[in-house]
């Protein structure tokens, strides 16, 4: 479902990714780990076409993202669910409206919007907070709204960029377990993180990046943090 072929990315001559090859299958759940500056966020941005590689190709569902025109980018992103560290919710809209926004923008009928938003909020166990505004929700609840928004359109791929970065350990584990449950429904989930505790607790595929290179890729791995690494 996700494939990177000899991907390199440099910023002003400074390499962020070096000759990365990666394949994540349909319905798979994988962690992308590494210290700050390892290239995790760059790799994620390549996947949702916020960036283009300096060299190599990026494929999602067989589509070569490097060849997409700017008009085709929204079509790609509708097939992706993206979860961010800072939730990125619209502050003046309720949880329900935040989740519903993309569906309404795509012209989905209101009765269908209600059905799909209720279902997504149910998956993240926030049915009772649908009418709350972001500032009335805890960090964990805001992130669950973010996840509901990411899955409401039924994307085959879910990308979570440091989704637990602003959360306490217990809530972080809840969020990652929720993402793993979503993966069980057939969605490919790639989670970038540097949180050793949750990675080690989950025992799933772990892809380690360091200085822009994949150093290990283990099916049922752990994240070993070197001394001095954050």
């Amino acid at each position: 479902m996700i494939r990177l072929q000899n991907v390199s990315k440099t910023y002003g001559g400074r390499p962020a990714l070096k000759d990365v090859n990666l394949h994540v299958a349909l319905g798979e759940f994988a962690f992308l780990v590494g210290p700050s500056g390892a290239g995790k966020s760059t790799l994620m941005r390549l996947l949702y076409r916020e960036e283009v590689p300096t060299q190599g190709s990026v494929f999602i569902g067989g589509v070569n993202l490097t060849k997409l025109s700017s008009r085709q980018i929204p079509l790609l992103r509708r097939r992706l669910g993206i979860v961010f560290q800072d939730y990125r919710l619209l502050p003046n809209q309720t949880a329900f409206d935040n989740v519903a926004y993309i569906l309404r923008a795509l012209g989905v009928e209101e009765s269908e919007v209600r059905k799909r938003v209720s279902s997504a909020l149910n998956v993240v166990n926030l049915d009772d907070k649908a009418g709350h505004y972001p500032d009335q929700l805890s960090g964990g609840e805001q992130q669950r709204v973010g996840i509901a928004r990411a899955i409401v359109n039924g994307p085959p791929v879910l990308l979570a960029d440091e989704p637990t970065g602003n959360l306490d350990p217990a809530t972080s584990l809840e969020i990652v377990q929720l993402l793993a449950r979503i993966s069980q429904r057939g969605t490919t989930v790639l989670v970038s993180t540097h949180d050793q505790t949750i990675v080690n607790a989950m025992r799933r595929r772990v892809i380690s990046l360091r200085q822009g290179e994949i150093v290990t890729d283990v099916d049922c791995g752990v994240y070993e943090v070197e001394v001095g690494q954050s």
Partner: protein
Amino acid sequence: MRQLRIFFRVVVETFLGLKHSGWSNWLVVSILTIALTIFGSILQLTMTLKNVVNSFGSQMVISAYLDNNHEPRNVAREVSQFNEVRLVEVVTKDVAWEDMKKNLKVASIPNPLPNTLHITVYSPEQVEKLAPKLKLLPAVEAVKYPLMVARRINEIRHFFEIAGVAVTAALTTATLTVIGNTIHLVIQARKREIEILSLMGVGHFYIKCPFVLQGAIYGALAAALAMVVLLVMQFYVVQPYMLSHLVSFVSLLPQQLEYSLVQTFTVMLVLGVAVGAGGGAWTSGRYIKI
């Protein structure tokens, strides 16, 4: 139906954008209203003058002003001998003075008007052939014909046209700058939201169109206000003073000289909406990178 629902959401986003803009909305609309009022006034004036010129150009009448030492009927007889002349009408100084007193307030002074002949020719081209011949007659002090006046009016019209284009261009540039700044502020205020929408896969049309519509609404509102200003000017200034005097002086011309206000208003509306929407499109294209 799906497209209609998307358009409805775009309209909702547009009105949210207008709400975000607050007082800047009125700044944009005011400047655009001034620009469109000036543009509309100049368009109305130059087009009306063009009608007058055209009307003069098709007139086949020459006015010959006689000195008081000659009997106008004798001169009329002499003039009627020219091949070009179809009809000669004598307007004595007494009749002309009475007419003038009916139309205008005049002081109690001795009649200053000369005896006049209105000479009609067979075709408009003959006007300029006959006029020099009439000037040579000893009884004729001066000759005037509409084409002469038309040339003067045309010069004035050209001046207004050039001035109008310059003023409208300057004001349109100013308006585009203000629209650009206002919409830029809205884009800045909604930067995070736009970024989220873009990452969710919302299309370019949905993100940018509200800003184009916002500009178009500014244009339509400003055009409506400029039309009200022009209507007030029309009813309280142009009609009672300028036009009635013009028509009374040039009694031989048809009464419908004035350029249609509906046409002026249509041009103003189209221009207003085009400038507004163009400003919105340019700003959103420049500042929203998806």
